[in-house]
């Protein structure tokens, strides 16, 4: 299981998901209506490290953060 947390304006509680890669997790998230509209615009961190590979492997206990578009200042 990996823990997925949604940051900032994505109004959604953290969820636990069975997934062995980011691509597999993507499919699961795509099935969630409240999350789907965000997916294309979001960046991802695994255990607080930003990742760029859509097929990045996931392991038991990973914490995946979903980061929507930003605007500081």
């Amino acid at each position: 299981m990996v823990k997925v947390e949604f940051l900032g304006p994505i109004a959604r509680e953290p969820m636990e998901v069975e997934a062995e890669s980011l691509a597999e997790l993507s499919k699961r998230l795509y099935d969630e209506e409240t999350i789907r509209p965000w997916l294309q615009k979001c960046a991802v961190a695994i255990n607080d490290v930003m990742v760029k590979d859509p097929n990045h492997p996931l392991k038991e206990g990973d914490r995946v953060s979903i980061l929507p578009p930003v605007c500081g200042g």
Binding site: S21, L22, A23, S26, C42, A45, H56, P69, V70
Partner: protein, 157 residues
């Protein structure tokens, strides 16, 4: 919160004069020839009473540390402070500064640093209108690496 590093986070508006004054004192003997401060002030527009901010601190710290390293390579130093939560109009939510031996590096660095801050610092902005927080979706930018979730979907089709 606060004074642990060159990046400071505060609940509510920043005490701009105190922070800039303290930064000036901290570097008084560092032999920097240029100190360029930037102040972001909340403007009254579109009926907002405040802006409000969420921050994801672990990634913000990494982003900032990467910029510190870039500044050091050029003999310079960057500092910043940002607010968390509500910040009323006509007060400040973001300040930053560059110190460098010479002005040219400082002028270039403050430009790059503030622009990249806008594009990639993990901070989310909301308008506060009638006490309600509304995500500033149209002013927000996808971070570098955004789309990694849909990239995987496309590749498998």
């Amino acid at each position: 919160m606060g004074e642990m590093s060159d990046m400071e986070l505060y609940e509510g508006p920043l005490n701009v004069k105190e922070i800039f004054g303290r930064w000036l004192d901290e570097e008084a003997e560092s032999n920097y020839g240029a100190y360029i401060p930037f102040v972001g002030t909340i403007r009254a527009e579109d009926g907002i009473e405040a802006l409000s901010f969420d921050i994801y601190e672990p990634i913000l710290r990494q982003w900032f540390e990467a910029w510190q390293a870039r500044a050091v390579e050029r003999g310079a130093k960057v500092k910043m402070a940002h607010s968390i939560g509500d910040v009323p109009v006509h007060t400040s939510s973001y300040i930053s500064a560059v110190f460098s031996p010479r002005r040219r590096v400082a002028l270039e660095l403050i430009d790059e640093f503030v622009e990249d801050f806008k594009a990639n610092a993990p901070i989310w902005k909301y308008d506060v209108i009638d006490g309600k927080r509304i995500y500033a979706a149209d002013r927000s930018t996808p971070m570098e690496g955004a789309g990694v979730l849909t990239g995987g979907l496309k590749r498998e089709k």
